[in-house]
């Protein structure tokens, strides 16, 4: 289906990443946002609060992030595309209910404009240290999808992609932006509504007496209903059967949790990476978000000096593009991983490379971006 023209501000804009996220959500058909103010993500909620009443949406500022995430799941089951937006401390508070969204298979989007941590850390300055929390933050086994934009333009696009993935796989999708991208102002081109493709909610056509709310289709994803349709279903965070009823047994656990994991993990098409000059590369810089842009001058400098350097940029960071990394590892000398933390996606790279090439981490504690010179030095080190 195509986007509703009512919500699409077609044209050229000069926006920061946070505002572009808000426009992406509205273009994607999101009409419910429950959030709690937190720097550096507040501009998303502020823009939505201003825009929603003009496009038929509801914004509610909740009392905390636990309530925000719970309301987002309730709204998803109420039949509306819903989201919340936060940063590190709030993201931590949302974790339990992100697990609930995974368990209830509620399509929804969470934007985390990452700042420096741990704890209160650096509220106004960037970080990329919530990447593993995005993957593993809620207790138990489950899978999510996470994306990381590296420009305001991509904020707009990635949020739409996030909504589409959440509807297609019925999973919470996390947009892992960072303070630099969130507060960076650039040209954003918003296309015409008819050029924006949206994945519609997977509502069932079965009558109530034939419908089982958690019976998966061929792609392991069940069809949905919304509350009030007369199906009188039960939805729980407890381990449940296809009927949605709680079942306290290892067999039910195995069947349900395996499906929640495999509907994402076995789906080879959930990949979105960008490759620059990797065909002949001997060194590939792997990064995402703002770090991928900071790496560009270093890569250019290396190329100038005759080092065949390239870039693999993750747009979908979770699930991790294992095949792509394995394939490149067989052809290159080294991966240089640039991220604003002390090694998170780096260990995923090491795991997939499995000794096929060198892996070098260029860490950074957050608060400011890498010095491209440090990345350049790592590239030189890689070809030694």
């Amino acid at each position: 289906m195509k986007a509703d023209p009512k919500g699409v501000l077609t044209g050229n804009h000069y926006l920061d990443g946070d505002h572009a996220c808000a426009e992406g959500a509205i273009a994607a058909g999101c009409r419910f946002l429950a959030g709690y103010p937190i720097t550096p993500s507040t501009e998303v909620a502020e823009r939505v609060a201003e825009r929603f009443p003009r496009v038929g949406g509801i914004f509610i500022q909740m009392e905390d992030e636990m309530g925000s995430m719970a309301a987002v799941i309730g709204a998803a089951w109420g039949g509306v595309k819903s989201m919340t937006v936060t940063s590190g401390p709030g993201f931590s508070l949302m974790m339990e209910n992100i697990g609930l969204a995974a368990m209830m298979e509620a399509p929804c989007v969470v934007i985390n404009v990452q700042r420096g941590g741990p704890s209160t850390g650096l509220p106004t300055l960037p970080g990329q240290a919530d990447m593993m929390q995005a993957r593993w933050g809620s207790h138990g086994d489950y899978e999510i999808i996470a994306l990381s934009p590296n420009s305001p333009q991509e904020c707009f696009e990635v949020v739409i992609e996030a909504f589409n993935l959440s509807e297609k796989y019925r999973v919470p999708v996390l947009v892992m932006a960072d303070e630099c991208v969130g507060h960076m102002t650039e040209k954003v081109v918003i296309p015409k509504a008819e050029e924006i493709e949206l994945y519609p909610r997977r509502y069932t056509k079965l009558p109530p007496n034939k419908y089982l709310p958690f019976k998966p289709g061929e792609d392991m994803v069940p069809e949905m209903i919304k509350a009030g349709d007369g199906y009188k279903i039960h939805v729980t965070g407890l381990t449940h059967d296809e009927k949605g009823y709680p079942v306290m047994s290892w067999e039910a656990q195995e069947k349900l949790v395996r499906r929640l994991v495999e509907k994402i993990r076995l789906n080879a098409e959930i990949v979105h990476v960008e490759e620059i000059d990797t065909e002949d590369a001997e060194v590939v810089v792997l990064s995402y978000g703002i770090s991928s842009r900071v790496a560009i001058p270093a890569i250019k400098k290396a190329r100038k000096e005759g080092i065949k350097a390239g870039q693999l940029r993750l747009v979908i960071v979770w699930p991790f593009p294992e095949e792509k990394v394995r394939e490149l590892a067989k052809k290159i000398n080294a991966f240089v991983v640039v991220e604003m933390n002390y090694g998170q996606m780096f260990y995923e790279v090491e795991r997939c490379v499995a000794g096929d090439c060198k892996t070098i981490l260029v860490p950074h504690g957050g608060g400011w971006v890498h010095d491209p010179e440090d990345i350049y030095k790592a590239i030189k080190e890689a070809v030694k």
Binding site: G57, A71, I73, N97, K232, H234, L238, Y245
Partner: protein
């Protein structure tokens, strides 16, 4: 030979609550003499008396013994996380305003861990009915002290008695802006059903507290006898006082319990205020949320 006389099949009489319960989930998990089933019976009775069609009534529960109610009602029902039933219900209601949303959960869930959501939903006058079964204890986890445990009562984590002042729930609800506030005990099945029906037929944030026996933990630890003794205690010690000043509704250990309907007033709901306020400011630029059926 005489033909065998066919015995007519006995007339199958449907249980009066069968259409409202998930009979395929019975037997339930509650202990015998627990009051939650009684509160649920009152709720089922109330559902028969309301204007809203049942397919538009949703129940949201949190975690705990009463949190299991969502699993037994034959309605769209959601069993959410501990303390978050009210915000979950908030999302559900705002997404689809034609729903009648009921939060049915326990004191530990709604007031203990979820207290912040409770006061804010009441302040906003979020359109929902909150039924809080108060058994004075965290029962599902084995009888720990709660924000509602009366002073001196023994629990597994207050083995020498509770020395923290408990909440007065009707007063809390009323002070935060609830438009309907009532308290009954599990003994008052008809009165609580009437209150629930009134609340279900009313707009805004309604709160009903049901004092409920937990004979397995609370009564046993405090040597209060069995379920029947507790019901007898409610019978002898409940005082019906409609319109009572909510400041005077504290519950002391094994003392009189004041019950009744304390508050029944009108105030614009969250959505009414939201829509009217925006309409006034934005005029024809305001596009009201069309509900889940908009697209």
């Amino acid at each position: 030979m005489k033909a065998v006389e066919t015995v007519p099949a006995p007339e199958v009489i449907e249980h009066p609550m069968e259409s409202l319960l998930r009979m395929d989930r019975i037997p339930h998990i509650w202990c015998s003499t627990c009051g939650i089933g009684t509160a649920l019976t009152s709720f089922a009775e109330a559902l028969k008396r309301i204007d809203t069609p049942l397919e538009k009534v949703c129940v949201v529960s949190g975690i705990g013994c009463t949190g299991r109610v969502a699993g037994y009602v034959k309605l769209d029902s959601f069993h959410s996380t501990h303390g978050r039933a009210i915000p979950f219900a908030t999302g559900l209601k705002l997404a689809n305003p034609e729903l009648k949303v009921v939060v049915f959960s326990g004191d530990g869930d709604i007031i203990g861990i979820g207290g912040n959501h409770f006061i804010h939903a009441a302040r906003r006058n979020m359109d929902m009915v909150v039924i809080c079964v108060n058994n004075f204890i965290y029962a599902m986890t084995g009888g720990q002290v709660a924000a509602t445990t009366p002073l001196t009562a023994n629990t597994s984590t207050s083995p020498y008695g509770n020395f923290e002042q408990p909440f007065n729930l009707p007063h809390l609800a009323a002070s935060c802006g609830a438009v309907y506030v009532a308290r009954w005990t599990a003994l008052h099945v008809r009165r609580s059903a009437k209150s629930m029906a009134e609340a279900l037929n009313k707009k805004g944030f309604s709160f009903i507290e049901i004092i409920c026996p937990c004979s397995t933990l609370y009564a046993r630890r405090n040597k209060l006898g069995d379920g029947l003794s507790l019901m007898k205690f409610y019978h002898d010690n409940s005082v019906i006082k409609h319109g009572a000043d909510t400041r005077e509704l504290d519950i002391e250990f094994q003392k009189k319990i004041i019950v009744g309907k304390f508050i029944d007033r009108e105030r614009p709901t969250f959505l009414e205020s939201y829509n009217n306020g925006l309409k006034q400011v934005l005029k024809d630029k305001f596009v009201p949320y069309g509900g889940a059926h908009a697209d």
